[in-house]
């Protein structure tokens, strides 16, 4: 787990806007519930017998009840979609930006077996820019926040976060406090 340093306090945890997750999950959840409805339908409705061409193609199918076979296949799909839904949620939940009183931490999933954790101390921050474009981001107040950093640190991008302007203020406030604390330590 990501553990904080001594005397480090969390100011803000940011993830992508929930609407982004909902839009990603919509087709997966729809298929999941469609399978559930179909299974309920199969459990209670009478089924016609197998067509003749199917029986000719695979006569051993007659040994099994068609309802059981269909329910087994659908439960198989249900299990697959449950995992797909949770992989999407994991990807959303663990792509986060944590602003503390000392640094900004970023964790990002790049494929199932590749995750990046990076952090930048507040004194390295040079500039912050906000990028909101499109109808949905403008209406729902979410967008990208870019942090330009000095030295070997790369550019930090908070993607599709809600309230990017408020986040910018929090980062600048944290930076001010961090620099003040650094000056005190030097003195």
């Amino acid at each position: 787990m990501i553990t904080l340093r001594k005397n480090e306090k969390i100011y803000l945890i940011k993830r992508r806007h929930p609407i982004v997750l909902r839009l990603e999950l919509l087709p997966e959840v729809f298929i999941f519930f469609a399978i559930l409805v179909l299974m309920t339908f199969l459990l209670f409705m009478p089924l016609p017998s197998l067509p003749e061409w199917v029986i000719e193609f695979a006569p051993s199918l007659l040994e099994f009840e068609i309802r059981g076979l269909l329910l087994f296949s659908l439960s198989f799909l249900l299990l697959i979609f449950w995992q797909v839904i949770w992989l999407t949620i994991t990807n959303y939940y663990l792509d986060s930006w944590i602003i503390t009183n000392k640094r900004t931490i970023h964790t990002e999933l790049r494929g199932l077996f590749s995750r990046i954790v990076s952090s930048v101390p507040h004194d390295r921050i040079q500039d912050i820019t906000i990028d909101v474009h499109g109808i949905l981001p403008t209406v729902l107040h979410f967008g990208d926040l870019h942090i330009q950093t000095a030295g070997e640190f790369r550019e930090f991008i908070f993607r599709q976060i809600p309230d990017p302007y408020k986040t910018k203020e929090v980062i600048f406030e944290a930076r001010r406090e961090f620099l003040k604390a650094l000056k005190k330590e030097d003195a």
């Binding site: 787990m1 553990t3 969390i10 040994e63 009840e65 439960s75 198989f76 299990l79 994991t90 944590i98």
Partner: protein, 66 residues
């Protein structure tokens, strides 16, 4: 023959589910914030869901075979 295929499919999906569960648990344990209380709840929902669906899959397999 079909019974064997069904059993093989069932075992394959259970193994696949367990592997994906391990990956999801690993990511949450390794990369979530230690102070985050929601992680436990999220993992519990996932865990119970996957157990129920595996049992449902096995139930329908038994129902089909016997």
């Amino acid at each position: 023959m079909i019974a064997l295929i069904l059993i093989f499919l069932s075992i394959a999906i259970i193994v696949f589910s367990l592997i994906s569960a391990i990956i999801i648990f690993y990511h949450f344990k390794r990369f979530a914030l230690s102070a985050d209380q929601n992680v436990k709840k999220i993992l519990n929902v996932f865990k119970f869901g996957i157990i129920i669906l595996i049992l449902l899959n096995l139930f329908f397999l038994i129902l089909t075979l016997f």
